[in-house]
Structures are given as structure tokens and as C-alpha cells.
């Protein structure tokens, strides 16, 4: 199990984080941007679990941070989807370019 260096696991989570970031930069649809954010949060969770398991096995902090991140991500997704549905009701679109009421 420890024959895989920790850096390989961290490479996976880094790659996932930057995939999510690419999606966040290129997508213009709010739901797909939300999905990209979920990918980024998940990559952070992988890091917490790996650090806790292999570097500080006598502590539990990484596990708890992961649990709290998952909880807050769930709350965030629910609030974001409520906002998206409300926006769709008033604009008939969920494109971020069209939600510019505060600009003019």
C-alpha cells in the first residue's frame, strides 16, 4: 500500500483541481460552473484524507475537515441551485453573461 509515493496521489488531486478550474474558466452556464466547483472541492478532500492517513496517522483532523467540507459543499450546492432557479424564472436563461442587472 505504501509502495505508491504520496506525491503520486497528490498529483492526481492537483490534476483534478486544475481540471475543475479549467471548467470554471471556460463554461458560461451556471450549472456547469457549479459542477466545476464540485470537482475542485473534491480534489481538496482527497488531499485532506491522504495527508491525514499517511503523514499524521495519530490525528483525525483531516477526516473531520473532509466531513465539514462535504457538508458545506452540499449546503452551497443547494443554495446555488435555488438561486439558479430563481434567476431562470426572471431571465429565462442561466447564462452568466446575461445576469448583468447590477452593471447597468
Amino acid at each position: 500500500m505504501t509502495e505508491i509515493p504520496i506525491s503520486h496521489m497528490l498529483f492526481v488531486s492537483t490534476a483534478l483541481f486544475f481540471i475543475g478550474m479549467y471548467g470554471f474558466f471556460t463554461r458560461r452556464n451556471m450549472i456547469t460552473m457549479l459542477m466545476a466547483i464540485e470537482l475542485m472541492l473534491n480534489s481538496v478532500n482527497i488531499n485532506f484524507v491522504i495527508f491525514n492517513k499517511y503523514l499524521y496517522p495519530d490525528k483525525m483532523d483531516g477526516i473531520f475537515f473532509t466531513i465539514f467540507v462535504i457538508t458545506i459543499a452540499a449546503a452551497e450546492a443547494a443554495v446555488a441551485i435555488a438561486i439558479i432557479i430563481n434567476l431562470y424564472r426572471s431571465h429565462q436563461s442561466i447564462d452568466v453573461e446575461e445576469a448583468d442587472n447590477l452593471k447597468n
Binding site: 471548467g23 471556460t26 450549472i31 459542477m35 459543499a73
Partner: protein, 174 residues
């Protein structure tokens, strides 16, 4: 010669990254949600692999069973799911790709330089131990964040209802 566990790790990682790339590049929004589902299941597998079973179970219950279903619901409420999304313009695509690759290389070089060393102690993450820590008010306990998160969840729940509620047109009394 790699052991079976190592081969599993690389297979799961390749699956996660492939599904993630497909989720952010496909132009049909419903397929994007399904690829996200695959990526999240792969991440749950990645938690099962180092024997962190409780987090893997939480991942499946909350993400796969909750958030993805919520996202698919909102896709059905707001989009024609068969329609392709418009293509992003080329310059934005190129510049975000460049930025992302630069960030990835920087982070990878930092990780490589630091060279994390794994300890050999066993890691006890039985659910009973997690529960004891979670409700412990002592020095290592997590009782305060637990309560704070429960209040946050309640606030988010009420906030969602208030935001998504259809506003009733009120007659002006003046």
C-alpha cells in the same frame, strides 16, 4: 513489478481524471452531469482504496445520492437537455488552458521538491473513534464545529426555501 493494489490505484486515478476532463469539456449538459457522477464515484473508490471507509460512504451518500441528483433536477427544470451548449470562444479557451497548465506544473514541481515521506504507523479511523472525536468538548474534540455546521445547514435550508419561493403578488395598500 507493481502489486495489485498499486495497479488499482492507477486505474481509479485514470478513471477519475478521464471523467473529470469529459465533464468539463462535453457540450451536452446532461452528459456533463453523468460524467461528473462517474468522477465522484471514482473518488469514492479512491477513498476505499486507503481504507478510509467512512469518508467513502459519506461521499457516496452526499455527493452521488444528493448533489448529483439535485444538479440533474435543476438541469431538467432549466434546460433543453438534448441541446448543445454554445462553443466557448477560442481566445478564452487558449488562455485558460495556458493558465491551468502553468498552475499544474507549478504545483507539481512544488510537490516534487517537497517529497512527502509516508509514516508507517497504522491509521485507526473506526466510526466509533470518529464519533467520539466529533462530540468531544475537550482539546481535540470537534463539538463546536459540529454545532456550527448544524446551524449553517439549518440556515441554508431556510435560505433555499426563501430564495426559491414564488413571490406572491401583493396588493399595495396605499
Amino acid at each position: 513489478m507493481m502489486s495489485l493494489g498499486a495497479i488499482f490505484f492507477y486505474i481509479i486515478s485514470a478513471f477519475i481524471l478521464l471523467m473529470g476532463i469529459l465533464a468539463v469539456t462535453t457540450r451536452k449538459i446532461f452528459r456533463s452531469a453523468i460524467y461528473l457522477l462517474g468522477s465522484l464515484i471514482g473518488i469514492a473508490g479512491l477513498y476505499f482504496w486507503p481504507e478510509v471507509e467512512f469518508i467513502a460512504a459519506v461521499q457516496i451518500v452526499v455527493y452521488v445520492g444528493g448533489i448529483v441528483v439535485l444538479i440533474i433536477f435543476s438541469i431538467f427544470l432549466t434546460q433543453q437537455s438534448g441541446k448543445e451548449m454554445p462553443r466557448t470562444n477560442l481566445s478564452r479557451n487558449i488562455f485558460s488552458l495556458l493558465g491551468v497548465i502553468a498552475g499544474f506544473l507549478l504545483s507539481c514541481s512544488l510537490i516534487h521538491q517537497y517529497g512527502f515521506e509516508a509514516g508507517s504507523q497504522p491509521f485507526d479511523n473506526a466510526v466509533s473513534r470518529i464519533g467520539l472525536y466529533m462530540l468531544n468538548t475537550g482539546k481535540d474534540g470537534f463539538a463546536l464545529p459540529f454545532e456550527a455546521v448544524s446551524i449553517l445547514l439549518l440556515a441554508a435550508l431556510i435560505g433555499c426555501i426563501v430564495i426559491a419561493m414564488k413571490s406572491v403578488p401583493t396588493k399595495s395598500t396605499k
